[in-house]
């Protein structure tokens, strides 16, 4: 079992060889395979935290993995709020995780 991928599945058989795709996640270089979604490639590289909650900063990651819950939204290049579980990785893709946003008008928080 390679790091994070099931190479030899008892039923599905062997994972066929695919081209490697280089992309970055928060500035560190990662390698995924062609046809993998961002969420799958990150999970295979051991990255489970895709963003943190915009207001409370709680860590969030994959939830539904079929594009409904928007929990896996990441920033790809200059495009915001892209669903990682639906977007296939491309060569040289720059993925950035979502950060906690400032809440200057919340009571008790002065910024």
């Amino acid at each position: 079992m390679s790091k994070g991928r099931i190479i030899d599945h008892p039923i599905l058989g062997r994972l066929d060889e695919r081209e490697e795709v280089h992309f970055t996640f928060d500035e560190n270089k990662l390698i995924g395979y062609e046809g993998e979604t961002i969420a799958a490639a990150l999970l295979a590289n051991g990255e489970r935290v895709l963003r943190c909650h915009e207001e409370t900063g709680k860590l969030r990651g994959i939830y539904c993995n079929i594009g409904h819950c928007m929990e896996c939204r990441v920033n790809v290049g200059n495009q915001k709020s892209v669903r990682a579980c639906l977007t296939v990785i491309q060569e040289g893709m720059e993925v950035k995780s979502g950060r906690k946003l400032p809440t200057p008008f919340k009571k008790g928080e002065t910024q």
């Binding site: 939830y63 409904h68 928007m70 929990e71």
Partner: protein
């Protein structure tokens, strides 16, 4: 999780306790409960918690007030970013 409170609305982190307390103290309809607690206003568009908020209002205000209409489906059905609606492309 905030000391293990059951979270009903995952996108806005509204717990069951908040919803029940608000629904009981203001005896509000689903729509008012949504407006007061933001449950159902998150990025997923209420997919997870719409039914739960409705059932909480049913349970807490048991004489389900006549004007109590269940939560609707607000456009845009799929979340979109403002850049799609006419960002100036600087060539």
């Amino acid at each position: 999780m905030r000391d293990h409170k059951t979270i009903i609305c995952r996108c806005e982190e509204v717990s069951l306790e908040d919803l029940v307390r608000t629904a009981e103290s203001y005896r509000c309809s689903s729509r008012e409960l949504k407006l007061r607690t933001r449950a159902g206003m998150g990025q997923c568009g209420g997919r997870t918690c719409r039914a739960l908020v409705d059932s909480i209002t049913q349970k807490c205000t048991n004489d389900s007030t006549p004007h109590d209409i269940p939560l609707g489906y607000q456009a845009p059905i799929r979340p979109i970013t403002f850049s799609i609606m006419g960002e100036k492309k600087d060539e």
